[in-house]
Amino acid sequence: MEENIYRKDFPFFSDNKYIYLDNAATTQRPKVVLDAICDFYKKSNANPLRGLYDLGIEATNRYEQARERVAEFINASDSSEIVFTRNTSESINLVAYSYGLSNLKEGDEVVISVMEHHSNILPWQFVCNNTKAKLIYLEPDKNGVISRKEYESKIGKKTKIVSIGHVSNVLGVTNPVKEIASYAHKFGAVVVVDAAQSAPHKKIDVRDLDADFLAFSGHKLMAPMGIGVLYGKKSLLEHMPPFLRGGEMIEYVTRDSATFAEVPHKFEAGTVNAEGAVGLAKAIDYLESVGFDTIENIENELTAYLMDGIKDLKYINTYGSINPSEHSGIVTFTIEGVHPHDIASILNEDNICIRAGHHCAQPLMQFLKVGSTARASIYFYNTKKEIEKLIYSLANVRKVMGYGD
């Protein structure tokens, strides 16, 4: 592989020493996104959706155009199906509070999987506790695959909500969300897709998936922090009560009651994060200019290189598929006799940034019977040289820790 041609687009890489391999946690931002932020504040800054003056209209337009850009990105039918939130976690909480609390009752079931991120577990624990619905877990097989038999045995007449991660942030595996959605819809359940780890890596088509709700975070695909997305089918959003209340999400307010604005504004209380939306739209432009094909190619090549490079180190165990192209750039591993935190500290001395811990997926850790794991997560701006250094450092960890090999 040649020198990576995308790195120069990122100020982050221009003068620091880090080998950044924690891309599943958050990504770096290209200059075009930082420029878009500054440009917004310099030229179009006013409170969107409020001012009647030209500057206010301009702010509103840039904000609403960002919404259209997002709709196009995930192939939503209409931009009113895009609600801006802070992040994936808030998006899922919104569905849990607004749809979940008002549609679940004792005897109903919510189905999630053991490999969910806490952000797709805790909101459902909360809703189930409050409504006395039952929380059911799909279990993957030892390769991390949720089989057809598994989901067909757990989804049924009592199922009201299925909420499932598109790509696992630990195993990197892609779940069969389209098939699960189609099966769940037979029973009238609504399907929530946690796309936090898929949106940065592969084309999302909400209509093809037939997702009822879908959530992702801007910061995981090079957009600013503080902006996230909730897609929801219009017919569902329209019948849901608001979640946060205040500001311009209303029609009329009297002392005792209020009527609410149309979707999506009904769900966006208070001053919106126009900077974040504008930055997200620009990040999507940038991402699509690179192209998902290129992204997947680079990631798969680097992932293969990494998995191949550590294959001979018998004391390293990796999780998930043995096929590198089924990892979305995520390689989670443990080293026998070495705690993942010690791995991270040792790699840190070589300026390599990897994640160690439970990755906000404690039930999956319990399922895998490990306390914690280490994780290297690759994005298209990483290079073969960086992976080489990672392999080299990993090959030395046990020696540093006092083992013979």
């Binding site: 070495v338 935190h341 500290s345 540093v400 006092g402």
Partner: protein, 149 residues
């Protein structure tokens, strides 16, 4: 000291060959200490003779720094009074948080002072202090003592 060197020269010995790891017969005080974010999880066991800590042992799992630190701690507090042990804990915490750097002041820690480098590893502070923190808890609140299961 560099981190790798720190592991090699200080941590590994106690991590790989702990002297005080194991289940104690008839401990007087037992307390579990946990760092949720890392998964460090120890059970500290103390045997007392009046004011004197006659023996200290631990079981559990965790990162090398947490394991080495609690092993070093046990080594240092055996034979000391409870008061002295608590004083040492104070100094240790101060050292790790970077507030105490004066060598004379650190002398009381003896070999445990070798963990001073952790003060430059902010992510690992919790690991290093887990044992000492658990000891403080149980000496100050003996009523919290648990049964060894």
């Amino acid at each position: 000291m560099e981190i790798k060197q720190f592991y090699r020269e200080i941590v590994n010995e106690h991590n790989l060959h702990p002297m005080h790891k194991g289940r104690m017969e008839g401990p007087d005080l037992v307390l579990r200490g946990v760092n949720p974010s890392c998964g460090d999880d120890i059970i500290l066991q103390l045997k007392l003779n009046g004011e004197i800590i006659e023996d200290a042992m631990f079981i559990g799992t965790g990162c090398a720094i947490s394991q080495a630190s609690v092993d070093m701690m046990a080594d240092q507090i055996i034979g000391k009074t409870k008061e002295k042990a608590l004083e040492m804990a104070q100094v240790f915490m101060g050292m790790i948080k970077g507030n105490i750097t004066d060598e004379a002041e650190l002398e009381v820690l003896d070999e445990a002072a070798a963990l001073q480098d952790v003060s430059h590893m902010p992510a690992r502070v919790k690991c290093a202090v887990l044992g000492w923190h658990t000891m403080q808890e149980i000496l100050n609140n003996p009523e919290k003592s648990e049964k060894l299961s």
